[in-house]
Amino acid sequence: MAEQAEPMDQRRRFEGWVRQHTAELLRFARNRVKDPAVADDLVQTALISAWESMDRFAGDSSPRTWLFAILKHKLLDHYRKAYREGSRLSGEPAEADEPEAMLFDTDGHWRSQHAPALDPALFADDDDAERMHRALLHCLEALPERWRGAIEMKYLLERDAALIQQELGLSEANYWQQVHRAKLRLRACIEERINPAMRHQKT
């Protein structure tokens, strides 16, 4: 553990990184995990494993990049666990959670009250960024944790779908089903939230 010529220097350097980056790492984790206490744990674990592998920090990336890479791994572990536990607890696939039957009719066409509307004001580039951001976070929290894992991993791993499937131990079709469901729910939720006036009549 960090045994080099000047261990004191090494420690002081690491302490500096902790002071400088912990808040930012916490914000990152809290925006990606439902329970703030879990997010804090993940950051703490990440920092401690960083310290334990300090001698492997090559210095060819910035400390910040390196710490974020370690945190992302911890997040992936968390999602994988949440996914497995979710599947175990609810049994495969939880019927009540399935958005498809609600959104599409038996021919696979949008039920009219759920069809996305091409309102140019909605999801526009210049839409109030703060409002969209809040809606996104709210709607992510509303997702079942394992779908959230599938969709968060998609962005964390920067589109390496093969790796995600491997990480989750999922077949390709099954993984896509999770992402598709998560996205369908997320979209419907955001639409409702940012434009309640447009809320479709639920009859």
Binding site: V18, W51, W110, A117, L118, A161, W176, H180, R187, I190
Partner: protein, 81 residues
């Protein structure tokens, strides 16, 4: 041709997600292309989906008032052991 026109909205939205990460087969591509020509709801879905991707990637990581001190202290204690 008629087979191509049978792509459902459910299938089209799945292909829109799939396409972001891997190339579609020629059959899937054509099915989606024709479906989008005739289906305004799925065109809206495509637009919203891309907007969500954009938001997810550029998500502002500014949670309100994070108190980092307890995690900081716990880590500093651990590494001085």
């Amino acid at each position: 041709m008629t087979a191509l026109l049978r792509t459902s909205c459910r299938e089209a939205t799945r292909l829109i997600e799939l396409r972001a990460l891997q190339p579609l087969t020629p059959r899937e591509r054509l099915g989606l292309f024709w479906h989008l020509r005739i289906c305004a709801a799925c065109r809206a879905y495509r637009k919203h989906s891309a907007a969500i991707d954009h938001l997810m990637v550029r998500r502002a990581d500014d949670a309100p008032s994070v108190d980092a001190s307890s995690v900081e202290q716990a880590v500093l204690r651990r590494i001085s052991e």
